[in-house]
Symmetry: C2
């Protein structure tokens, strides 16, 4: 339990957009103190001169498939359907625990280097993934990944097991998507939702074809279908949310559901661009995610922020000019609340010490007019100087504390070679 | 004159998309050898084990206003017109040589850290800028910056002076834009174009309002106007090229003119998105630039590549799926040829040693399916391990050799405070 004092820091708590100067102390897992310098009655294990660098909550990657690093830059010229069915599903059928472990480790390394302290992950082989997350020390929230290919028989057990696995691991009910899941299976999922009175998450309205198909099958949009079935009776939300109509918006707003946007992935797979600005203007709950490395191809939350802030300028005559603080909130606080990480949403005394340090000496942060705008419009993973999760520094000045990057690179490339 | 041997390298010459493994030797300014390992009859000053990292030509930032770092994250919610007239022009009127020097230094630092080895820069106070470029050791191509506010009386002298200034500096004729330059001044510029038989560059068709205004004033698009005046008789090109119609495309293609795209800036200022895919399909000459830090807000060529490759997916039904190598070429070779840097376009024996090293151990580059796709779809400045210009290493593992970053940060912030 290492007690750390950060001093000479700029601090952005994300409770509001103010940036203060002062100190932040951590007690080994939580934030002990934020404020002006003052004497401490106990010794620190380490004192870090921040030299004016910025402390802020870590980014929350609110939709991803971490282990899909195998698909990074594999088959880059396909729409979602062809990419999934021709390239991804056949490889996924061959994935074993060892693949999941090492392919996830590369993903976690990318998260840590890019200031991401928690992810909301939908994938298979969850035991291997939980082991990798625990070895890495990252906060990992599973999302149920049921579809007609499998998972339905394990959903309830997984929900119980991974909500009782360890401090860093939790689990939310979820399934892949309406278009890959039969009504019979959706009804089973719905029963589990009601049994546990738990929120539910799902890929939703990612492509026009998906929404059209659902309308053909059920005479209504996926959002309306799930809502009418009672799937959203205990909250939750959806990933992508690109092709929402007014009624879908209304349902999500009335139920307080989370829309998790993945603008890079949607852009790259030619799925479209979500109506970010409309969601914001309607005061809806929004978060950001990278989606998997196969469709993005990076796990870089800064690029998601830039796109969510700027793509609306293409749609709104004269420019939408989204407030960057709203976007930064979606990428930090919003993601945390969406994933149920209510103790990792902002920097405050007693909250989890899930903190990143931004290098304010980096040229892209200078000269300083507006740090929040800078993070959203200029930021990239290279400005992340330190990443701490649950009070442990896991990444600092380019070095990993819990990951042997050479080994992870070697193993992921070796296993990729066997998979293809 | 430092002779350097890079070994255990992956090498992407950009002559084609092949990546080979081997060695690259530099002789202090140029590339001496690329190929398999072999004995050298002379000693090297330094031998660098690349450990499988990638050597490739540096990126060329083919449109920028480097000194505009003062405007980074200043007034982020304005369209081009309001942003220029209400925020930028009033500050620019107060810029002195000292501002240009230090504000440019921050920009150059960002270029080096992001793998940019040359820039095509349109701004004022060119003596101060040339001094800063020379002190930094970066390859700097000036573009004439005439408009009705000034510059016309200096254009010819500047053209002569900065094409005879030093190895790293050159100058192309240019002016700000049709909408800021009277016909009288355009005619003077046109005379100079013809006197020197020189290519000409200009902001063109950046916004719909600009094109509409030109049609009102002259009954034709800016492209057609300049073409009919003879401005493009000796080549050149335009920056932005967002609102081209078929006739504009035809003129640019027939004359072999360069279209320099700035997707981030256009997106952020709500100017629109250029028809990248149409330009590519028509086999036109294309390059990429960041524009200034005021409108971007970073000087990150990776983000430009991602957007140029992916934004067409929003326009083309079913997806455009632009070939990433075409985009990487625009950002390296294309930029070089556009700027007249015919010895810095690709890696080859006798070419300028303008080389960057990409960190292949970075998680965002692993596991390795397709390095070219990875650079375009996943890359960010944090993966640049080394930047060499004219045979000199200027940036390596986060350290600058010719820039005191602390001093540049301090001076740029001090001067910013005085400007606002």
């Amino acid at each position: 339990m290492s007690r750390i004092r950060f001093y000479n820091a700029r601090i952005l708590t994300m409770k509001d957009k103010e940036i203060t100067e002062g100190e932040l102390w951590t007690d080994g897992s939580a934030i002990e103190y934020i404020g002006a310098g003052k004497p401490s009655d106990r010794a620190f294990d380490r004192e870090i001169d921040c030299k004016g660098n910025l402390l802020m909550p870590g980014f929350k990657n609110a939709h991803t498939h971490t282990a899909m690093t195998f698909a990074r830059s594999l088959a880059d010229s396909a729409n979602l359907h062809d990419w999934l069915y021709d390239h991804i599903f056949p490889i996924e059928a061959r994935l074993k625990d060892e693949h999941i472990y090492w392919l996830s480790k590369i993903g976690y390394a990318e998260y840590l280097a890019g200031g991401i302290t928690a992810c909301f992950d939908m994938y298979f082989n969850k035991e291997a993934q939980a082991r990798c997350a625990t070895d890495t020390g990252i906060r990992h929230v599973f999302c149920g990944s049921v579809n007609d290919f499998g998972g339905i028989d394990k959903l309830e057990d997984e929900f119980i097991r991974f909500n009782d696995y360890g401090d860093l691991i939790s689990y939310k009910l979820g399934f892949h998507a309406e278009y890959t899941t039969s009504m019979e299976n959706m009804k089973i999922i719905n029963d589990i939702v009601h049994k546990f009175e738990a929120p539910l998450f799902v890929h939703i309205s990612e492509t026009k074809a998906e929404v059209d198909g659902c309308r053909e099958r059920y005479g209504m949009s996926p959002v309306k279908l799930l809502s009418e079935m009672g799937m959203y009776d205990f909250g939750g939300g959806g990933f992508h949310c690109v092709w929402f109509d007014d009624e879908d918006m209304e349902i999500f707003r009335n139920r307080g559901l989370w829309s998790v946007f993945n603008p890079c992935s949607n852009l790259k797979l030619a799925s479209g661009a979500a109506g970010f600005k409309d969601f914001i203007d309607n005061g809806m709950n929004i978060a950001l995610g990278t989606d998997g490395a196969g469709s993005n191809n990076s796990l870089n939350i800064f690029r998601e922020m830039f796109l969510a802030a700027c793509l609306p300028n293409l749609k709104v005559e004269g420019g939408a000019f989204v407030d960057p603080f709203t976007i930064l909130k979606a990428a930090t606080t919003g993601g945390a609340l969406c994933m149920g990480l209510t103790d990792s949403d902002v920097l405050d005394e007693g909250k989890n010490a899930d903190i990143i340090m931004i290098d304010m000496s980096n040229p892209t942060m200078n000269p300083v007019n507006d740090i929040v705008a800078n993070l959203v419009f200029s930021g990239h993973p290279g400005i992340v100087k330190m990443t701490m999760i649950a009070g442990k520094i896991l990444y600092e000045n380019g070095e990993y504390k819990t990951i042997d990057l050479d080994e992870a690179d070697r193993m992921s490339n070796k296993l990729l070679g066997e998979l293809l």
